[in-house]
């Protein structure tokens, strides 16, 4: 079926499937052509190849101009040279041009050491910039989650691709022409005033320091040093599967124990786990699912199905802004981060005798939208947020480095009890399909009263954008779907709006691959193998756990017995559930 073409690259013959680009063919042969705008997350349908930076140009025999290897398809008999004087001169000049319109503040840039522009400049051996002239200068735009400093933008437009083609959000787009061309919200609005969901995928792919997270590291250091404050931390499932990459460990290395040790050395009073709250989420959301499903089976025509997960703050922002007519479908369960904050500042604080005003709850998240979620008014008591603020995986790595901690040498340590205990179901929340799988494990057993033979629902795992499965529960076929990226979610929501959505339950995660590909994670630099390795690490941790079903977590059971009553109780409603707002309308009115 797949036809091959044969060509020569740097005088070496190579045969590749038709449709392969020169860049892909060359990389396959170990020829590492530099790129900047190009990004291809294979298997995830995330690709940016506008052929606009022109760093990857090569010489193709018979062609008048140099060709961008990222967008030039291999043809039979082609003769390609990737390192002639002409090519090297062109590449160097192009890089000098880019640098001539870029602030030379690498030493104090958030991206220094992790910057693709810097890496390419080093690779090309740039020693001086022969061009002087005008610089593009823009205001810095701050939102609760994202910092935009377009003076550093190299116009690769990866962010635009993520925001429009992958996420279908449409907050960012190219504006202006020529030297003044820039990626920006329409009318140069602040990001916070747009349809932006703070999913952070623009941040995740920005090759330079133009798009970064709002940095809370200094704030955290001050809180840790403040006398009289109890500072506790929760860590999201996906963090442990990626943090090691910041310290040179192989992608997919699970560093749970070292992470706990590092957090303790940073000075947190308690190191807890968001996985605990993930188990709690399953109790609430699973109960809600069964409630709606049973009502439906009982003949209730009004009940809203499918129920849709609500763990992901980017996703919540998306449907509040884009589908305000469908706000009754998502589960009312708060996200694990917020359930944790709520439980910590009530149940645990009471138990420990700590006053709310003395307690600081910090979260480590793979996500930048979580920063926004912390600030939502409905998650505050008398103005005090349940979770004071969240930092990203990258910020945690920076703090560990700043605190002189030799991370790879750390011993493995355990989370503190009681909010540090979790099951495998909580762990897999970090990968696309994980919440659905965790919910199915619990819902099945609660509904049927039977124990599952195998807790693995592999149909909902993997990198496919839309996954679906049918599970038989007491003779009823329960149809579920899992979407990651907001673009895929949009397809489901539009079907739902059109009355053509055949599912009973849907899981949505805003980021590619789920939280493992979150906007706060170590940068994948376009390597999708990293995302897959992180997911595998989570599933391995799950299968190694003694307890793999949320309803078997003894501390969850204790929490209900001692404090909450039962799932969906009045207290649970008050502390663990939320409501949604139509945030689409105000944008129309503006």
């Amino acid at each position: 079926m797949s036809e091959n073409v044969t060509l020569k690259i740097d005088n070496r013959e190579v045969s590749v499937p038709k449709g392969t680009t020169v860049l892909e063919a060359a990389r396959g042969m170990g020829i590492d052509i530099p790129t900047l705008c190009y990004m291809n997350l294979e298997d995830l349908c995330v690709k940016n190849a506008p052929a606009s930076c022109r760093l990857c140009v090569v010489e193709v025999k018979g062609r008048r101009n140099l060709a961008p290897s990222c967008a030039t398809r291999c043809e039979n008999g082609m003769e390609v040279r990737t390192n002639t004087m002409r090519v090297l001169n062109a590449r160097r000049t192009v890089m000098e041009l880019i640098l001539s319109d870029h602030p030379s503040d690498c030493l104090v840039c958030a991206k220094s050491g992790n910057c693709e522009l810097q890496a390419a400049a080093i690779k090309l051996g740039i020693r001086e910039i022969p061009f002087q002239g005008a610089r593009s200068e823009y205001r810095v735009d701050l939102s609760p989650s994202i910092r935009r400093d377009m003076s550093k933008c190299v116009y690769c437009r990866r962010c635009e691709t993520m925001c429009n083609e992958v996420q279908s959000v449409g907050a960012l787009g190219a504006a202006n022409r020529g030297f003044g061309a820039i990626v920006s919200p329409a009318f140069d609005l602040d990001l916070k005033d747009t349809e932006c969901t703070f999913c952070g995928q623009c941040v995740a792919v920005c090759p330079v320091g133009a798009l970064t997270e709002i940095d809370h590291t200094e704030r955290l250091l001050r809180d840790l040093a403040a006398p009289g404050k109890t500072v506790i931390v929760q860590t999201a499932p996906a963090v442990r599967a990626a943090l090691g990459e910041e310290f040179g460990l192989e992608p997919g290395t699970s560093v749970t124990g070292k992470m706990v040790a590092a957090l303790r050395r940073l000075g947190f009073a308690k190191v807890f786990d968001t996985d605990f709250a993930a188990d709690l989420t399953i109790m609430e959301e699973g109960t809600e699912l069964l409630g709606r499903l049973n009502a439906f089976l009982g003949g209730d025509k009004e009940v809203k199905l499918p129920i849709i997960t609500s763990c992901c703050p980017g996703w919540v922002n998306f449907y509040e802004k884009q589908f305000p007519d469908l706000l009754e479908y998502p589960s009312t369960a708060r996200s694990p981060q917020q359930m944790f904050g709520s439980v910590a500042k009530t149940y645990w604080a009471e138990k420990m005798g700590i006053r709310r005003e003395d307690l600081v709850v910090v979260s480590v998240m793979p996500c930048v939208a979580k920063k926004f979620e912390c600030e939502r008014e409905e998650f505050k008591t008398d103005g005090d947020p349940d979770v004071n603020y969240s930092i990203t995986t990258r910020e945690l790595a920076a703090l560990i480095k700043r605190a002189n901690i030799d991370f790879p040498q750390l011993p493995d340590e355990d989370f503190d009890a009681p909010l540090g205990e979790s099951t495998g179901a909580g762990v897999i929340f970090g990968a696309s399909g994980g919440v659905m799988e965790a919910a199915l494990r619990t819902a099945y057993e609660l509904q049927t009263g039977r124990t599952l033979d195998s807790v693995d629902f592999k149909q909902v795992r993997g990198m496919e954008g839309l996954k679906e499965a049918t599970i038989e529960v007491n003779g009823v076929e329960v149809r579920v779907a899992v979407a990651h990226t907001l673009g895929n979610a949009r397809r489901l929501m539009e079907a739902l709006r059109a009355g053509e959505c055949p599912y009973h339950a849907i899981e949505v995660m805003a980021c590619p691959g789920g939280c493992i590909g979150g906007g706060g994670q170590p940068l994948h630099h376009g390597d999708s193998r990293r995302l897959k390795a992180r997911a595998e690490a989570l599933y391995a941790e799950d299968s190694g756990k003694r307890l793999r079903k949320s309803h078997e977590n003894p501390y969850i059971i204790a929490l209900y017995e001692e404090f909450m009553g039962k799932p969906m109780s009045e207290k649970a409603h008050h502390l663990l559930h939320t409501c949604y707002f139509n945030r689409g309308k105000e944008f129309v009115e503006q």
Binding site: A51, C53, R54, P68, A174, G178, F179
Partner: protein
């Protein structure tokens, strides 16, 4: 109703700007006063081309060509020419050599060497009247194609004609049609690129204003041959007259059944819609044009895929320029073998140029390929204005290059112009004389490309900006000899790496001026002098003590008190204070002040 006489008044944009509509109104009033409105018809035509002498009024059938006519001349034209049969001599064109009036345009130097194929109907017919187009063989080419030829035969004929795209790149039109015809799709599109954007160019505009039906007919022929039923004209919104005339033409063609369902009783259906551009130069590039029509940002994308495979809405699309289309109907009616005898070996037919700059006969001309620049500039163009010395001619618009004295005898065609370091482009031709500074000329064109770059690729977005800055530095007298090397290398890299035609050609003005006027660059840098005296920063003002009588007028008018001197004795200028405004030069009655 048959008229005995016709008065053709140029309705092109240039003549309209000089009140040609008022001339028409006055003519009609005068005719009515004399009860001649049923015998003499006044018609607004398209551009006659001789814009230098506009507004043009032509009286038929005796072919009298009046120039620079004013509304108040209408009465005399009617009273003398129409009624008494006496030509109004003062309105006739005067041959500059023989100083004698010339009444018929075919005896004017401006028209003698021209061959009007694409412009065949401009200035002859009322563009808003389909019957006049039909009377001049209009729509017979479409009829011939639909009833006597297969699509393959039409393509073969266009290929045989040797017609190459008139938009700039010169790609063989027939081959392009053939590509589009080969792809299978539920819908294909024919697009007319009417996004003419070169500074000073008005070829396409004049064709659309003067002969819109030729475009409608050619697009239908193209649709038939490639299997498309939809045509789109992408036209810049600042061409309101061209838009209006196209709309009228499309409406009339529909009314006559020449567009729409089952044209000429065949199964062929074709319809045309107009899409408006916002005036971005890069939208003349076909992929950018297509994105713009789709409602996306007007910026180019990589080819392949070519529009012939995946164009408008990802369907096979054939994009041709206005002038290219205008040639099609004649090729079909007169035959490819008639057309391919005109021109040079690899460039067939004619080319329309917008002749502008320091030349006596500014206007729109059409000459056979192979005509030399000398013929165009000195015979048709009537030579350089005010007897100045010819210095250079810029062809190909901002993407082209400056050609010099040594290129004057080069026969104009696609390949020769490229070999000479310029290009055909869409047909702008700007003549420069000894007063033009070539560094400033290069800077002017870069100004344009910097402004018009979409910004997508690095070399064009940043590179052109840096080229412009370097040129600016040189015209300010701050350049170094290394800057010339940087200019050359950067220009080469931009040409080599830019994404689309705009960027790939934008350094041409720099390279061609560097190649042909290197000494002028060096003079700016090493001697801090602008030989043409254009670069203000390099000028210095001096008073000749021999000529100065010490009247003090200059000193009193100097805004910065840079001129000092005792009354009745020679003054002098403090060059440190002088802001080079030129006021003193203007005020001095004794020509004592000069620039160096």
């Amino acid at each position: 109703m048959s008229y005995k006489m016709h008065i053709l008044v140029c309705g092109g944009t240039g003549c309209r700007a000089s009140a040609s509509q008022h001339i028409m109104t006055r003519l009609e009033e005068c005719l009515r006063d004399k009860n001649l409105e049923d015998e003499v018809q006044v018609i607004a035509t398209g551009c006659f081309g001789f814009c230098e002498k506009g507004p043009i009024v032509k009286v038929m059938p005796d072919n009298t060509f009046y120039v620079q006519v004013k509304p108040e001349d209408a009465e005399e034209i009617v009273a003398e020419h129409i009624i008494k049969g006496r030509k109004v001599e003062r309105l006739l064109y005067k041959d500059p050599e023989r100083k004698a009036p010339v009444s018929d345009s075919k005896h004017m130097e401006f028209y003698k060497k021209q061959l009007r194929i694409a412009l065949r109907n401009c200035g002859f017919i009322n563009p808003e009247n389909i019957d006049e187009y039909i009377a001049r063989d209009g729509y017979s080419a479409l009829a011939k194609c639909l009833t006597e030829m297969t699509p393959e035969e039409v393509i073969a004929e266009v290929k045989l004609s040797g017609l190459r795209g008139r938009g700039g790149a010169g790609f063989p039109t027939g081959t392009k049609w053939e590509f589009a015809s080969k792809y299978k799709a539920d819908q294909k599109y024919v697009v007319c690129n009417a996004d003419e954007g070169d500074p000073g160019a008005f070829m396409d505009r004049s064709i659309m204003e003067g002969d819109p039906h030729s475009i409608v007919e050619a697009m239908a022929i193209c649709g038939y041959s490639i299997g498309a039923t939809k045509g789109l004209v992408y036209i810049r919104a600042e061409y309101p007259l061209a838009i209006h005339r196209l709309q009228v033409a499309i409406g009339q063609a529909k009314e006559y059944g020449l567009l729409g369902e089952r044209i000429f009783g065949t199964d062929f259906c074709f319809d045309i819609e107009i899409r408006y551009g916002a005036g971005a130069f890069v939208c003349g590039e076909e992929t950018a044009l297509i994105h713009s029509m789709e409602g996306k940002r007007g910026e180019p994308t990589m080819k392949p895929p070519f529009p012939a495979e995946s164009g408008y809405l990802n369907r096979p699309t054939n994009v041709n320029n206005v002038e290219t289309f205008a040639n099609i109907p004649v090729i079909i009616t007169k035959g490819a073998n008639w057309f391919n005898k005109i021109g040079t070996e690899r460039s067939k037919g004619t080319k329309v140029f917008a002749l502008a700059g320091k030349i006596n006969n500014v206007g729109l001309i059409e000459v056979p390929m192979g005509t030399t620049l000398r013929e165009v500039i000195y015979e048709i163009g009537g030579g350089i204005k005010n007897g100045k010395k010819f210095k250079a001619v810029q062809t190909g618009g901002p993407s082209g290059g400056c050609l010099t004295e040594k290129h004057l005898d080069v026969p104009i065609d696609f390949d020769n112009l490229v070999a000479s370091g310029s290009m055909m482009g869409s047909g702008g031709m700007i003549v420069m004389d000894e007063d033009d500074c070539m560094v400033s000329v290069a800077k002017f064109y870069l100004d344009f490309t910097v402004e018009e770059s979409c910004g997508k690729c690095t070399p064009c977005r940043v590179g052109n900006k840096r080229l412009h800055e370097l040129l600016d530095k040189i015209t300010e007298g701050k350049g170094t000899m290394e800057d010339l090397e940087t200019l050359r290398n950067l220009s080469q890299v931009i040409k080599d790496t830019a994404l689309c035609g705009l960027g790939q050609t934008s350094p041409n003005p720099v390279l061609s001026t560097l190649n042909n006027f290197y000494e002028e660059y060096v003079a700016h840098i090493r001697d801090h002098k602008c030989p043409a005296g254009k670069c203000k920063a390099l000028l210095s003002f001096h008073i000749d003590p021999e000529l100065c009588i010490g009247c003090g007028l200059c000193a009193r008018n100097c805004p910065v008190d840079a001129i000092v001197g005792e009354r009745k004795s020679p003054h002098f200028i403090d060059t440190g204070k002088c802001i080079k405004c030129g006021t003193c030069l203007e005020k001095c009655k004794f020509k004592a002040i000069s620039t160096r």
